[in-house]
């Protein structure tokens, strides 16, 4: 049976755009070369709407909405960039930087880090909040990879890719609030995990230097995420 999707017309930042009804504002913006900052979102995985960086304004709507989880609708007028949004985005980044250890100069992901790029892009040049310094353990038990929870921003990409693409569900989250942290299996050391397939997908989707390959020096850790859209579209074709 032929696939049928209705077309919606709407405005993003004053520009008229046409969309499929199953397209999100984020997809549509990217299609039209409009940049909306994202951190937890990655094409090919489910959408948690967690980082709140992609919040946009919609005319007539009381609340800000995440562009990654909001679908295009007829007559919508979306604003992706305003002084208010820029200030919120900078503050969210500030909060992230105040939470863990995000000292770029000593990080293997320096220069290849999505958090670092966003901070530069959004002009977040200082942090006004004291560092929370939660106690977060580093897991180096795996033969090939390291998990440094101090650098983790809890975007949950690793949890999702392991569950949704690899099908292993090694990763999950334990604890609440600032004590929340990524754990392997039932909080067993990663190296002893009976479910981990050592595929390395979690490492490559990690936007920061939390999940890295062993043996990398400062600035050497480059992530390769090209596999993800390919794998997830293959899965859709199979369905």
């Amino acid at each position: 049976m032929a696939r049928r999707s209705r077309i919606k017309t709407l405005k993003i930042d004053g520009r008229d755009v046409g969309a499929h009804e199953d397209q999100t504002i984020l997809q549509l913006a990217r299609e039209n070369n409009i940049t909306i900052p994202t951190l937890c979102h990655i094409e090919g995985l489910s959408v948690p709407g967690a980082c709140r960086l992609c919040l946009v304004e919609v005319k007539g709507w009381r609340k800000l909405v995440p562009a990654c989880a909001t679908y295009a609708d007829e007559g919508m007028e979306v604003f992706t960039d305003s002084e208010r949004l820029r200030s919120y985005r900078r503050m969210i980044l500030e909060l992230l930087f105040s939470e863990g250890n995000h000292v770029c100069a000593v990080c293997v992901s320096n220069g290849h880090c999505e958090l670092q790029s966003l901070a530069q892009h959004l002009g977040m040049d200082h942090v006004r909040y004291p560092n929370l310094q939660p106690v977060r353990l580093v897991d180096m038990t795996h033969s090939r990879f390291t998990l440094d929870r101090n650098r983790c921003i809890l975007c949950l990409r690793c949890v999702r890719v392991c569950d949704e693409i690899e099908g292993a569900h090694t990763w999950d989250v334990k604890g609440r609030g600032v004590d929340a942290r990524v754990i392997s299996d039932l909080d067993t050391p990663w190296g002893e995990s009976p479910t981990c397939t050592t595929c390395g997908k979690c490492v490559n989707v990690c936007p920061v230097g939390a999940l890295v390959e062993k043996g990398r020096a400062v600035g050497e850790m480059v992530k390769r995420q090209e596999f993800l859209p390919y794998l997830s579209s293959m899965r859709e074709v199979k369905r």
């Binding site: 709407g49 989880a69 909060l95 105040s98 809890l154 949950l156 609440r176 929340a180």
Partner: protein, 539 residues
């Protein structure tokens, strides 16, 4: 031919024949149980045997009688004599007094505003029926509404009555219940679910616990009517594990209802199937948020997800789901029994019916009350609640728990309805009402609630996870006299950020206690700030 419901009524009436002329009711809800209500009941039972009046007096354990401050409570029916602060030693005297003169030294006045000003719909059976007896509930008119809905009404007619009643969600949000039901009814799917949210987590709130402990069948009946109206066959009660007595009584009620054909296949011979199962919450406050609650039932980590899609469209296991609070479901049976118009006759234009409140804090009559919407805070706190224990002036009233705000004494004449409370920067909430006098520091109140939100944040979205932690640190700095005016400014910016950018209701409402105390008690913040003098005029 008699219907199944008529048979149940006959059985219940047969039970009634066995009853004696007098009934001594002993409160067996959590508050009085903690004061050994159960041992008092045993002592009374032993005493009627000792005094040889088993044929005249029945001892009955009942649910919450409301005035928890005076517990353990015992009442003698049909005279309606209430005894307060009863001890095991009083058992002999109480049994002796039955049918004779009441015991003056224990008697609790019942002609006071605490009892006279209340309008009981949700709590009509609390403290009256035995929560562990289905017959008792049926004798009080229970399951008549379900029978009426199943035999005389179409699902659309049931929804119409709920719409006419003007009932709004009692969990705090105040979303129109009829609208929610009609939306779920409209959804096209072979499978639909009904969920009862009994994950009551606000500090100082115990309305839902009391309803489940005192009258569990009422909630089951409300859910069954809802399921019939929206076309669902399976319901879940998401009940927090910290309420062992509520769990035990609800389990018992479900078992009794199944045995009597009120749950299961072909309920009351109507051809409708309906089942209720209990799912226990493991103590996360965020699981009271509907999407987190559903994730938890599905066996996942209790974390919220963005809405839309709303549960009515994409709920439990992706199916259309109706999710209401305990108190909302407890209102359903009376609405169907008496008609929506009757319910709409109580309350105000926008907020209909009654609301149950748990009075706590610096108040004489701590306990559970039910009042019509539109009653003023003054009437609740000073007349029904009896004011502060030492008679001093009330400073503020906290409603809505960690999602609500503090209303200062100057607004004490405000009518209690959804709109009036939110105009004041607070919310109706689920019904917790904490009264504070001059001994409470508002900065410390704000810090307390922020600490609660900080530890209960699930950690999924950044504004709530880190924002609440930073706000707590700033409030702590202010409370301990180490903060500057720059810190206060930072705090206000964070309030704005967390309120507007958080993923779920927990984060979006977490700044409310801070914002409302800043609005009404700003000077308390300023006096604690080290360099306040040069900033005070500007702010």
């Amino acid at each position: 031919m008699t219907t199944i419901y008529e048979e149940l009524q006959e059985q219940a009436n047969a039970e009634l024949q066995k009853r004696h002329t007098h009934c001594v009711r002993v409160c067996m809800a959590a508050g009085c149980l903690s004061h050994h209500g159960d041992t008092i009941k045993k002592a009374l039972e032993a005493e009627i045997e000792a005094q040889g009046c088993q044929d005249d007096v029945t001892i009955k354990g009942v649910g919450c009688m409301g005035l928890c401050a005076a517990g353990p409570l015992v009442s003698v029916e049909p005279e309606g004599i209430l005894y307060e602060k009863v001890t095991v030693e009083d058992a002999a005297d109480i049994v002796k007094s039955v049918g004779n003169k009441p015991l003056k030294r224990l008697q609790c006045a019942t002609n006071v505003p605490f009892f006279k000003r209340q309008v009981k719909i949700v709590l009509e059976n609390s403290g009256v029926v035995d929560p562990e007896s289905l017959e008792d509930y049926i004798l009080a008119g229970g399951y008549a509404a379900l029978d009426k809905a199943l035999t005389d009404m179409s699902p659309a007619e049931v929804i119409d009555e709920v719409v006419i009643s003007g009932l709004r969600g009692r969990g705090g949000g105040g979303y129109p219940t009829g609208l929610k039901w009609s939306t779920v009814a409209k959804a096209i799917s072979d499978t639909k679910y009904v969920i009862c949210n009994a994950d009551e987590g606000d500090p100082g709130a115990f309305m839902d616990r009391s309803v489940l402990e005192s009258d569990p069948h009422r909630v089951i009946e409300g859910m069954a009517i809802a399921a019939y109206a929206v076309g669902a066959e399976q319901a879940y009660v998401y009940l927090r594990a910290e309420y062992p007595l509520a769990i035990q009584r609800l389990k018992m009620a479900i078992r009794q209802a199944k045995r009597s054909g009120l749950l299961g296949d072909n309920i009351l011979g109507s051809g409708v199937n309906f089942n209720v199962d209990i799912r226990l919450g493991a103590g996360a406050f965020v699981c009271g948020e509907e999407t987190a609650l559903m994730a938890s039932i599905e066996g996942k980590r209790g974390m919220p997800r963005p809405r839309p899609p709303y549960p009515a469209d994409h709920g439990l296991w992706g199916e259309p789901t109706l999710i209401n609070n305990v108190e909302t479901f407890a209102n359903v049976a009376p609405i169907i029994r008496n008609g929506g118009a009757w319910y709409a006759g109580i309350g105000t234009k926008e907020s209909k019916g009654t609301k149950v409140f748990a009075l706590a804090g610096q108040i004489k009559n701590t306990g559970l009350i039910e009042v019509p919407m539109g009653i003023s805070l003054n009437e609740i706190v000073n007349e029904i609640g009896g004011g502060t224990p030492d008679g001093s002036q009330i400073k503020a009233i906290q409603t809505g728990g960690p999602s609500g705000g503090c209303i200062p004494n100057q607004y004490i004449e405000t009518p209690v309805d959804y709109e009036s409370l939110s105009e004041l920067g607070s919310i109706m909430g689920s019904g917790g009402m904490i009264v504070m006098d001059s001994s409470s520091s508002m900065v410390e109140v704000a810090r307390y609630f922020m600490e609660f939100c900080k530890t209960e944040s699930c950690g999924k979205c950044i504004p709530c996870r880190v924002g609440t932690a930073q706000m707590y640190n700033l409030l702590d700095k202010i409370a301990t006299g180490k903060a500057t005016s720059a810190d206060l400014e930072l705090l206000e910016q964070l309030c704005d950020l967390v309120k507007n950018t958080s993923l779920c209701g927990l984060g979006q409402s977490a700044p409310n206690p801070v914002l409302s105390t800043l609005r009404y008690f700003r000077e308390e913040y300023l006096t604690k700030i080290v360099d306040a003098t040069d900033k005070q005029s500007g702010s």
